[in-house]
Structure formats: structure tokens, C-alpha cells
Subunit: 170 residues, 6 copies
């Protein structure tokens, strides 16, 4: 396998020491990142969440707040991440649609975060942390009825601002 110039892990210096990469010379620009995660659960778990939301407590609202608050904690969780005063955090859900999208046994709920900042470095990790903690919160609130929930496809879907240009996941 041939590797090009980009096989560098910038969080290590030439001696192999981990470090917080110096962003002091980078431009302050408006940067946005979007990430997603999917929570795969039993179909009956989803209908319980959905039916509760109407009058007995909204799992998704709790997850949304957990995700927003976690975005602000990112630099305390990811060791080499910079501290960034976020401009905005938004979390949306794409819920399973009836009949068509709930298979006979499982349902898949999608979480989408959008995080923006005006800073020297991007907010990919904040967007990814937000969806991860939102998904874990859904697990926590449903684990008494469905211990086999899995969290899938945590990934960065879009990123703009900064030197590396506009990225959209194919």
C-alpha cells in the first residue's frame, strides 16, 4: 500500500508525543459542522417513545438537551480538542415513518446535529459528540424496555469554513 504526504497524525509531534495542535496562526472564520447518528431499536420501543411524547414525557427532548450540553463539554472529553465558544447548537431528529420505515422488528431514528462557531478551528468533534451523547441518552431512557438498542453510523456529514474547504459526505 502506497501512502502519500497525508499519512501524518498531527496530534503527535515528530518524537511521537501527543499535543494540542497549535492553531494560533489559523484564520478566525465562521465554521459549521453537521454530524449524524442512528439509534436502532425494536419497533415497539419506538412506538413507546412516540406515544409517550404526546402526553407522558418526551424522550427526544431530553436527548436533544443532553446533546446540546455535551457539545459544550467536548474539549473536556476529547483529550486534544480545543476549547471553542460555540455560536449555535441545533439537534434535529428524523423519526421512523409509519408502515414504510418501521420494519417488522426494528426502527431506526436518526439524530442530526448542526454546530457553528467563529474560531480558528472547526467543530467536527462538537457535532459528533452532540449526536453521540443524544443517542446514549435515548439508550439510557429506553434500556429498561430494550437493552439491545444499538447506535450506528456516527459520522460527519458536512463541514464548511476553514482552509480545507466545504466537505459533504457522499
Amino acid at each position: 500500500m502506497i501512502m502519500g504526504a497525508n499519512n501524518q497524525l498531527t496530534h503527535f509531534d515528530e518524537s511521537g508525543a501527543s499535543r494540542m495542535v497549535d492553531v494560533g496562526e489559523k484564520q478566525i472564520t465562521a465554521r459549521v459542522a453537521r454530524a449524524t447518528a442512528s439509534v436502532v431499536m425494536k419497533a415497539s420501543t419506538w412506538t413507546t417513545i412516540r406515544d409517550h411524547a404526546i402526553k407522558k414525557g418526551d424522550v427526544l427532548e431530553v436527548a436533544r438537551l443532553a446533546g446540546i450540553m455535551a457539545a459544550k463539554q467536548t474539549s473536556n472529553l476529547i483529550p486534544l480538542c480545543h476549547q471553542l465558544p460555540l455560536d449555535a447548537v441545533k439537534i434535529d431528529f428524523e423519526v421512523p415513518q409509519f408502515d414504510s420505515e418501521i420494519s417488522s422488528t426494528t426502527a431506526s431514528l436518526k439524530i442530526i446535529s448542526t454546530v457553528s462557531v467563529t474560531a480558528r478551528t472547526g467543530v467536527e468533534m462538537e457535532a459528533l459528540t452532540a449526536v453521540s451523547i443524544a443517542a446514549l441518552t435515548i439508550y439510557d431512557m429506553c434500556k429498561a424496555i430494550d437493552r439491545e438498542i444499538s447506535i450506528e453510523h456516527i459520522e460527519l456529514v458536512e463541514k464548511s469554513g476553514g482552509r480545507s474547504g466545504h466537505f459533504i459526505k457522499k
Copy 2:
């Protein structure tokens, strides 16, 4: 769809208010939880991680520490989670094996956490948070060379101690 007695979300009371569930009457027992996550990356990303580990910085050690420290932060991240003074946290990796497990384009690294406590409630969320943050840390350290890494299959694989008995994911 017929639901049995277990379609209750215990984090809400009868009026739909979220709450931290009362565990005061539960038994203090030794409890263990194990969770896993997979980090799916380009094969070349994996070989870069692997080659760095030898003499230029070990991504997996950073991820391991991030996961251990995150386990201790779980109750600050998951809104309705209890604060639990953990007895032990351990994080292992199953790395892609040569030829056979690295497909032509992608490699999958598995993270396994084992968390134990002597307490009134279990440590599923701590185990799940540990693998999630470890996985996100790998993303962070490799994002400059592989922005399309995805995190898959975050799930509880085993749980023991407590009233609900020994659970092993099929």
C-alpha cells in the same frame, strides 16, 4: 402491536415529568457491564495508526485514557444517570488482522469496555459512554487523514449483578 407491562419508560413519572429514578430501595451488589463500539476507517488509516504506535505516538492509548476518564463523567453527560463511584474501568481493542480482516478499502477496529461498581444500580451507561468517547477520540486524532471514519455498533454486550440477572447480547 400488543405491548406488555414493560412498555413503561421509568425515567418519567405518571404525569410525564422526567426524573432521576429512585434507587434507594435497591440492593448494593457488585455489578459489571461490558460494551463495544467499532471504528470503521480506510485501510490506510489503520496502517497509519498501527505504524505510528511503534515509535511515533499511540492513538489507541490516547483513546483508552479518554474512554476511562469519560466513564467517570457519565452522570454529568447523561441527564438522568446516577453518580456512581466506579470500582474499575478497562478498555481493550481488537485490532484488524492482516490480510484477512482489512478489506481492500476499509478496516474495522473494535473497542471493548468493562466497567464495574458496587452500587444500587448498574453501569451500562458508563460502559457505553467509555467506548463512545474512545471512538470519538480516534476520530479526532485521525480526522486530518480520514474524515469519513464512522462509528458503528455501539452496544451493551454483557451485564451482570442486579435484579434483572445476567444479560449477554446474542
Copy 3:
């Protein structure tokens, strides 16, 4: 003014040094504390909160979660407070009733927290912190429409467990 033996501030030693009081000799018992706070706002602010809750976002649910999460942070906020792994946290609201309780200009919303623990010391501060941060969260979410909201009557209303017996505020 005559003072009895109880005019001691136990958070200082005999030399006047602050300290975290030693609870090592105290009994582990089930302890509960309840606290309240009132948020006094314009009547129109209350009706906006109430009308939003139905279909446009529930201020009280956000406040409730903020209060629960803050209860877990109490020992990080109150300098000489012990760290206590809480058994349960619950937050209730007494909302203004129509006609009778919304005066021509202001409405008063009451927040009630109930916190329990099995520990060597009580959870008064956790209960008080929970209502305080819940109230501040309501302020935050409504400040764009009502900057003159005030928070009143933060107080301990009940406390049981522990050597000092059952306290109920008159």
C-alpha cells in the same frame, strides 16, 4: 441579644479556617430534602410559556432537566459541600391557576425539588441548588420577552433522616 451554644459556624475550625466538615463518624441513613423556589413573571410571560408547552417547546421540561443535572453538580458549586451519590431527584411545578392566581400583571410559578440519598450527611444543598438552577433556566429562556422576572423564596421546606430529626418549614 443572647445566643446559645448553637452560634457556631461548623464550616470554620477554632482558628477561623474554612474546612469540609468531617462526616466520617456520622451514620449512613436514608435522607430526603425538599426545597422550593418561586419564579415571578409578567402574566403574559406565563401564558406564553403555557401556550408554547402544548406544541412549540416546553420551558418547564428544560428547567426540570437543568435542575436535576445541577443537583448532581452541587459539590462542585458549593465550596464546602460533600460529594453525595444521589438516590433520586424529582422536580415538580405548581403552575399559576387561571383567573384566580394570575393577577392582572404578574404570575408566580412554584418549583419543588425532592432529593434523596443514603449517606452520612443530608441533601439540603442539592435540593436548593436544583430549584435555583431550574428557576434560572426559566429566566434564561424567557429573558427575551421579560427581563424583569425575579426569583423568590428559595427555601428548604422539609428534611428528614439524620440526627437532627424531621424538619418541616412552618
Copy 4:
């Protein structure tokens, strides 16, 4: 009751989802906020605080530091609050004056915070959090001698900088 254009709760989007409001387009300006709280206690509690301060430990200094440190934690406590690197935090006390201001049974101590920042959004919540936690700290340190202390009148008294102009509470 007729409501104008201002009955919007900006922390929710049009679908009712909570979010951290986008401040990316707002101007970076110097902003100041001042808040107050009153701690109402038995007159004998106040004289104990006052007499201790001279040579046996200063409750107000502990409260002051707690308030300053809490101002820096505001965005971790109030779910939708932005993270702001504060320029300054100051906490003052107006202590009950002798004879005239200590009534036969109660004394009222006033806490005033002044917080400033150069940022895209204001520091009302930081100022309010500072006085709230300072007040709770006084409660904590005096609760062994006066369990019926109440905290009153937590309110924003002044705010400047930013688009909405100079606000002074009447």
C-alpha cells in the same frame, strides 16, 4: 390578553425544538450585567456571621469566591447558555446596618454581582448565577444555626452593551 410580536421564546425553533440560539451574526461588543439577591436570615444569624468575620472565619469571603467560580460554570448549568470567556467578575455585599436595618427578628443581606465580557451575547445569566450560588453558599455555611434562611429577589438590575440597549431595573 393581547400579545405583540415579542411573545416568542427564541430558545425554541418553529417546530418547538430547543436549541442554542445562533449568535454568529451578532456584534462583538463590551457587555456588562449586574444582578442582585437577598439572603434573609434570623438577626442572630447575621450577628454570628459578622462576629465570625473579624477573627473566626469569613462566610462572605467564601460566598464571594463561590459566586465568582460559579459565574465561570454558567454554561455548564444553564442548558442553552453560550460559553463566554468573562473579562471580569465582581461580587459585593450590602450588609444589614445596625439597629435600623436588623429588625427584631430578621436581617437581610444583599449580594450584588457585576460581570463583564467582550462577546457576541450578554452575561445576564452569569451575573444571576453568581449571586444565586453565593447566596446558596451562605445558606450552606449557616444552615446548622438557621435552617429557615430564604433567598429572595434574585433579579437582573442592569445590563449594557448589545443591541437591546441599556436596561436598568426600575
Copy 5:
């Protein structure tokens, strides 16, 4: 150099992976640790601290509170440290004595912490963290007048409770 059976670093497993050591089998006992640190400063810095304390602000009280609060944060700072709900934290100072102990150019202030817990593992790290952060706080408050302050001799001086017996530093 011959090494005995004790050249094991227990925070690594046999494969070299870091981990939070399992304390689940250890006994819950009363444990105490004491640590010290010395802050070496210009003699004039010490006299400024001392003179301020009387009527213009007490550096040592701020440092004391910082140390107590830091003790409670230890497990968030030291990666493999267990979370321990402390029973008590106390910080004392041995101030330089006049003439005899302030040399012509420097003065040495000693900080002593005493931390206790009833738990499965000891509080050495809490005691050491407390004196370290207290010392750093003194540096912070005096750095405008003495940038060359150094912190010396951070060490564990006593430890009791637990299997390894009573340790007193010679």
C-alpha cells in the same frame, strides 16, 4: 540494580494497557492522607500577603478554598484515579516566622492538607492535589508582584487505613 516483586506499575495490565485498577475486592475502611507543599517567595511577597490578610484580602483563605474544592475534583484530573466521596478536607498553613524564618531574600510558606474518606482505596492523590492547587492559587494571586515564586516539596507525609498500614514520611 536488583528489583523485587514490587517493580509492578499496577495501572497497566500485563499487555501494557492503562486501566483504572479494580478495587471492588478491597475493604471499606476509614482512610486518611496528609500531604504538604511549600511556596517559596520573596520575603517582601510574604509580608505583602501577611499585611493584606489583616484588612485588605486574605490570599491564604482563597488558596485554602481552592485546595478544598480541588480535592473534590481529583478523579477528573488524575486519569486513573477513583472517584471518592470524601468525608473531610482540611488545609492548614505554617507561615514564615519573623526574623528567624524569613531569610534576607526569601520566605517559605508550608501548606498541609488532611483528607479522609471511608472507602475501598486511599486519598493520597486528593491530599496531594489539594496542596498543589492551593499553592498554584497563591502563585496566581501574587504573580503580579513576584513572578519567580516556586512550589517545592509536594509530598505525601502520612497515610493510614488500608492494607498497606500506617505510613509516615521520614
Copy 6:
């Protein structure tokens, strides 16, 4: 002893109240601080650390990460410290050299932090906190084999940027 104009402790106001000093009028400039600490241990402790690093777990990597993460927590630990979004954090070690530098009984390991920021105030405290927590982490990981490790010479060695000019410790 005669003191000049510089015997002011700026963290107190004229009445002796502690405060977070107002930096709103200061210039935003690139600022760097470097600090050091020495960990003095038994020679055999050092050789255990060194031998482990090769194949059984690297104490210094754990300490390095702890130091980097602690730098980001500085304003939560040092009461009157400003919150600063750091541009870079780097931690280096000067390890004892064979024969010459390991005395018959003790070895001294030096930790050097370099922290940079673009802000209104400097990062001395972040650099000092980083080396302190890195040193404490080494203590933690080695305490089972060497309880008498001491941490020495925590000091600021260089500082640039800001009004007070370039400082280098003699």
C-alpha cells in the same frame, strides 16, 4: 523593609474583596508561557518507568495527556483565573540520563509545558497547572512502588506577549 508601588495584590479591590480582575481593556495578543516541574523518585522507580515504556505501558504518555487536559481546566481550579481558549499545549520531558544523572539513590525527571493563546491575558497558570497535574499523575502511577516521590521546582520559566514584556527566569 521598604516596598514600592508594586506591593499590590490585584486580585483584591481596595476594600479587600477578591475579584476576577477586569481584562476588558487589555490588548488581544499572542501570548506564550512555559513552566517546569521536577519529579524526584528512587532510581529504581525511574528504571521501572523507563522499562515499562518500551512494551508494558508508558507512564509519561499518561502524564502528558493529564497535563494537557488539566491546562484546559485551569479556570475551574484557580478561583480568580480567566477562562482562556488555548491555541496550543505541549508537554515535554527531560528524562534522567544514564550513569551520570541517576545518582545512586534518586532520579529527577523534568516536565516542561508550553502553552499559547491569543487573548487579553496570559497563560502562566495554565502552564503551571499542566506541569503540576502531569507530575501528580506520575506520582499516582508509581505510588505503589515509591510512596516518597516528591515534586519540586514548579516554576514559570518563560513568558512572552502582553504588556509586561518577555520574561525568562534566571
